[in-house]
């Protein structure tokens, strides 16, 4: 039925399978949309946030998806600026994943504010000294860049491409894509960093506070670095999942391995910096505020040293070591393990930098603040996943995203 829309020379599942998938995921999406509307109409009392937890699950989800969406800017940077041309076989998908991540992040931010109708104040009445202002500006601008990178992909749809103007537009946009990619890399450097700065500048919150250079705390640079390291891991992971679901090979191994190798070295250097940062913070920054490191990891039901181990060792050192060894990234199982661990590692890092910052008691006569999200928060956090799955499904079905797909999956000529 929809064969006219499907890219030439590529095989797709029957329409009923596709519709069924969209329907099932769509149900989850609607659940999330319902929760989102509840939050907008009834206000943030629908959440389990409270005066101790001004930031909670959503801000974590925001930071996490943006870190994972970092694959788009970093592979764009590698392809267009460094000149790693093999990545052209993965860049389209990285852009789509980035687009999903960033649109989700903006949506979450729109739900997360108490007065959504006043959200534009962050732009209009901007306080440039606030890390959140920098986040909002760079995020919106970078989302615009991702949209620009996504448009030519949409225009490559068989039917749209027939329209001469769209064909030319797609061609012209491809032509100067490096300019957009460079702008995107510039913007990403700042907003990934300023997200790190969000907790890092809170000088009265000893768990999050970091020293730094000029106005930027060390977390600024660590966040950019970790997003560049772990974002591509997420791109690889989603590509592998897509290959599993569609039951065909979409990207050649050498492309994946190249990205995995770069990612591995990024992750290794990041984790060394992270260890130095943690060590300096534990022996210098925290004691200056009257805290021992163990004050942050004891006397509460959740946060223990295990979380530090999970983040740094399991989510950092292990995947870095796997990815930098040729055998590690060539082996499918260990490659997958490494990407999963790296994704977990960066997510734990973002969790810690949002929620643990608020959980730690600062006044000595207080105790730890604990929090569990309400179903509305969980539903709105799952919403982007469902939305992402649907967008990927539609994009994969109707757009020629993977240039190597026809070569890897030759279609026998069929009659009719």
């Amino acid at each position: 039925m929809d064969t006219a829309l499907i890219p030439e020379g590529r095989k797709r599942c029957p329409l009923w399978q596709f519709v069924l998938f969209i329907a099932v995921v769509g149900a989850v999406l609607l659940w999330g949309v319902y929760a989102m509307i509840l939050c907008w109409l009834k206000g943030l009392n629908q959440t389990n946030m409270n005066n101790a937890y001004g930031f909670a699950l959503w801000i974590w989800a925001d930071l996490a998806v943006i870190a994972l969406g970092g694959g788009a800017f970093f592979s764009g940077f590698l392809k267009y600026i460094i000149g790693k041309d093999e990545l052209k076989n993965l860049i389209n998908y990285a852009v789509i994943i980035g687009f999903i991540c960033y649109s989700s992040a903006l949506l979450i931010l729109a739900i997360d504010i108490g007065q959504p109708l006043r959200g534009w104040f962050i732009f209009w009445h901007a306080n440039v000294h606030s890390m959140l202002t920098e986040v909002a500006f760079c995020l919106s601008c970078y989302f615009a860049v991702l949209t620009i990178e996504f448009i030519p992909l949409i225009l490559e749809n068989r039917q749209i491409d027939k329209v001469r103007f769209f064909h030319n537009l797609s061609h012209n946009m491809h032509h100067i894509m490096a300019v957009f990619a460079a702008t995107g890399a510039f913007l990403s450097f700042f907003h990934q960093g300023s997200l790190g700065g969000v907790a890092g500048v809170l000088f009265a919150r000893p768990f999050g506070f970091r020293e730094g250079v000029l106005i930027w705390p060390w977390t600024f640079f660590l966040f950019t670095w970790s997003a560049a390291a772990c974002g591509p891991c997420f791109t690889i992971l989603i590509t592998k999942i897509t290959e599993k679901v569609t039951r065909k090979k979409l990207v050649k191994d050498n492309v994946i391995e190249l990205l995995a190798k770069i990612s591995g070295w990024m992750l290794l250097t990041y984790i060394v910096a992270k260890i130095i940062d943690t060590w300096y913070w534990a022996v210098v920054t925290a004691p200056e505020a009257g805290f021992t490191m163990m004050d942050f990891y004891s006397n509460n039901p959740l946060y223990g040293l295990w979380i530090l181990f999970l983040e740094i060792v399991l989510g950092g050192i292990v995947p870095a070591l796997i990815l930098i060894t040729p055998a590690g990234r060539k082996n499918k199982a260990t490659l997958l393990l490494a990407t999963v661990l790296a994704v977990i590692g960066v997510c734990v890092n973002r969790w810690v930098m949002v929620l643990q910052v608020l959980a730690v008691p600062v006044m000595p006569f207080e105790s730890w603040f604990m929090y569990a999200p309400s179903w509305q928060e969980v539903a709105t956090t799952i919403l982007p996943l469902a939305y992402g799955a649907i967008l990927i499904a539609i994009a994969h079905r109707y757009l020629p995203i993977f240039p190597q797909e026809p070569e890897l999956n030759p279609v026998e000529q069929q009659a009719g």
Binding site: G114, H129, M131, A136, G290, P364
Partner: protein
């Protein structure tokens, strides 16, 4: 138009609270709620969801009878000066809804500008900032008792203690009418200060030699909460009890005796 404005020395309004006098009666909290149109809920059991600009904390020394001791600690907004007005909350607000005035030293919060991102709440270690999780609902007829001097807040914005700044504004009207240059100490006092039956709270200009707070802040037993974080708060506490002073800040084991820093 005359350019002769009120060219007076910058003030730094602050408080000194004598914890040895505080009985924990809560009159200051009640006065504050009434003065500032603070909304309340039918069920206030979860203090993390309700709004109390001035909150009285109960501190214990953790010892058993007969050495057990408690101390009540009223905690308004500290109106941190930080470093040149760079208080923890002011610089993080993305929409410039909160500001620090070099004229009075008061940290303001503009409810109509705030869009509820709650970054300032994350920044404040004293938990003085409260979010309006619900729209305010007053019992029938009570909305007529609201003070016209303080604007009422809506759902989805952050609010906090203003050192009853509207009282300063009202007091200044008279000062101007009478053609005086300066506000007298007793003309501008916060609601909690006046409500305290034990006279535990003293309020005034920390820069002014003639104000009571100027002398009290240099009391040998005076301390401020979380001073070593660099918040530079304008609320001082006095307690003769060492354990109370020690709970004013975090200390590593074996750190020396608690003495007030020079300020």
């Amino acid at each position: 138009m005359k350019k002769a404005q009120e060219h007076t020395a910058p003030k730094k309004y602050g408080m000194v609270i004598d914890l040895d006098k505080c009985t924990g009666c809560g009159a200051c909290m009640a006065a504050c709620m009434a003065e500032n149109n603070v909304p309340f809920r039918e069920d206030e059991t979860d203090k993390n969801l309700s709004i109390t600009w001035l909150r009285v904390y109960k501190l214990t020394n953790g010892k058993k009878f007969p050495n057990a001791d408690v101390c009540y600690l009223p905690r308004p907004c500290m109106h941190c000066e930080g470093h040149h007005g760079h208080s923890p909350c002011v610089s993080v607000c993305p929409a410039t809804a909160t500001d620090y005035s070099y004229d009075t030293g008061i940290v303001s919060q503009i409810y109509t500008r705030c869009f509820g991102c709650r970054y300032c709440m994350a920044a404040c270690p004293y938990h003085v900032r409260y979010f309006n999780w619900w729209d305010p609902v007053w019992p029938e007829g009570m909305e007529k008792m609201l003070s016209p001097n303080v604007s009422v807040r809506t759902r989805g914005v952050v609010e906090k203690c203003s050192f009853c700044f509207h009282r300063y504004q009202i007091a200044m009207e008279k000062v101007r009418y009478e053609g005086r240059a300066e506000l007298a100490e007793d003309e501008y006092q916060t609601a909690c200060t006046q409500a305290c039956p034990a006279n535990a709270i003293t309020f005034g200009d920390l820069n002014n030699h003639d104000h009571a707070v100027y002398k009290l802040k240099t009391h040998p037993d005076a301390f401020r909460l979380l001073e070593r974080l660099g918040t530079n708060p304008k609320v001082y506490y006095i307690s003769s009890r060492e354990w109370v002073r020690r709970q004013g800040d975090n200390y590593l084991e074996n750190e020396g005796k608690v003495v007030a820093k020079a300020h």
